[in-house]
């Protein structure tokens, strides 16, 4: 396997051929904030938090979708990037209903962690507070659309790891919703295997277990499952 060499934040780094900029950065302990990215799932480039500057390109590139190329010069942290990332987090917070104090994901929420790490104390935008519904028809879990950031991790884990493809997105723009089957109540879904993977990968309090005051997040279990399935290695 050939090796690619590129410059990241002024330092020369090496990357495996075909690796994404995000993978390269992670390997070299260069922090890049992400939300829709989840180790072991495909990339969609939806959240735009991992935007980086690539020399010679006048537009910002999503690190999770951009392949490392020989001789590339990448900046992962600049005043522009910080201001855009902050703005994205603020827009996400304003889009639906993210009141941390009364959320099951308080302290385990990735959106909250991002906001804290970026010093988002105030949201400059008017909260949309769209009064969306909740689906509590499943015996074990609840889907609260008001906390959903549409990262599609649940959709991808259900399709790629479980293979059921119960979830998908309907509509477009601000009317987009995560739906099960033909927009039917989750509890009545014929395709859902009740495996709970979607609940575990949800970055916010949109999917959570009934009767709990805190959600159970495990960022490594998908990688573990993939290794177990593909390489027969139960490396827990």
């Amino acid at each position: 396997m050939s090796v690619t060499t590129l410059t990241m934040n002024g330092t020369l780094v090496s990357a495996a051929e075909g690796a994404t900029l995000l993978a390269v950065a992670r390997e070299h302990h260069i922090p890049i904030p992400t939300l829709c990215h989840f180790e072991g799932l495909s990339e969609v480039g939806a959240c735009r938090l991992c935007l980086v500057e690539v020399e010679g390109s006048n537009r910002l590139q999503a690190a999770c979708m951009t392949k490392a190329v020989e001789g590339m010069t990448v900046t992962t942290n600049s005043e522009t990037l910080r201001s855009y990332r902050r703005q994205i987090v603020e827009l996400l917070l304003a889009e639906r209903n993210h009141v941390c104090a009364v959320c099951v994901a308080n302290h385990t929420c990735e959106l909250q962690n991002l906001a804290v790490s970026m010093g988002v104390h105030h949201v400059r935008y008017e909260p949309q507070a769209p009064q969306l519904s909740m689906d509590a028809s499943h015996p074990r879990w609840i889907l609260d659309h008001n906390r959903c950031v549409l990262c599609t991790r649940c959709v991808r884990v259900c399709d790629e790891i479980e293979g059921a493809h119960t979830w998908d997105l309907m509509g477009r723009g601000r009317h987009t919703l995560v739906i099960s089957d033909l927009h039917e109540p989750w509890g009545q879904s014929e395709s859902c295997t009740s495996c709970g993977k979607c609940v575990r990968v949800c970055p916010t309090g949109a999917l959570f277990e009934k009767g709990t005051s805190a959600t159970n997040k495990d960022p490594h279990f998908v990688t573990y499952l993939k290794m177990a399935r593909e390489q027969k290695l139960w490396n827990r």
Binding site: D159, A164, H165, T166, W167, D168, L169, M170, G171, R172, I179, S180, D181, L182, H183, S191
Partner: protein, 167 residues
């Protein structure tokens, strides 16, 4: 595998299901023909109901949530029966600047409708679109299949009132 019984039998026995099946056979039941088949289904039935979506999904081996997602993503698909007449209001930039928002709200007020809705008697459906590519004629409305340029609220109301009076 779904059978013909999966589709509603509200309509009298006709060959629409046969035509839908034929369209799917023509595409060799390939999952990537989904949009094409949904177009055919909508042309045949006028709208896409849940049984139809389920049937198409099964035949093309596409999960129901994706079929529903595609059917709700594109504006051309509708899950509710359309009225006998359709009035499309263009909200593209040029038309918007020329005042289609005012025309739209006039139509909404007049017929007690929201965009995307149909009057209770099933006569008129009000739909919005993003740019019909006829910006030179802005503001543009489409009455049934006929494009009308430089429309005013008065002319739009006259056309739709006419439909409502003689359905």
């Amino acid at each position: 595998m779904a059978t013909a019984a999966a589709l509603p039998t509200k309509a009298p026995a006709d060959n629409r299901l046969k035509m839908l099946d034929a369209a799917m056979t023509r595409h060799r039941h390939q999952p990537d023909a989904l949009i094409e088949i949904l177009h055919t289904a909508q042309e045949l039935y006028g709208y896409l109901d849940l049984d139809c979506l389920k049937y198409v999904g099964r035949c093309l081996k596409v999960p129901p949530s994706r079929v529903y997602g595609v059917a709700t993503f594109y504006n051309v698909f509708t899950l509710k029966p359309r009225g006998e007449h359709t009035c499309v209001v263009c909200l593209g930039t040029a038309c918007y600047v020329k005042g289609t928002a005012t025309i739209l709200s006039a139509l909404e007020r007049e017929h007690h409708l929201e965009v995307g809705g149909t009057t209770p008697d099933g006569t008129l459906s009000l739909v919005s679109a993003r740019c019909l590519g006829a910006c030179g004629l802005a503001p543009v409305l489409v009455f049934d299949q006929e494009i009308a340029g430089r429309v005013t609220a008065e002319t739009a109301l006259a056309r739709t009132r006419n439909w409502m009076e003689q359905p």
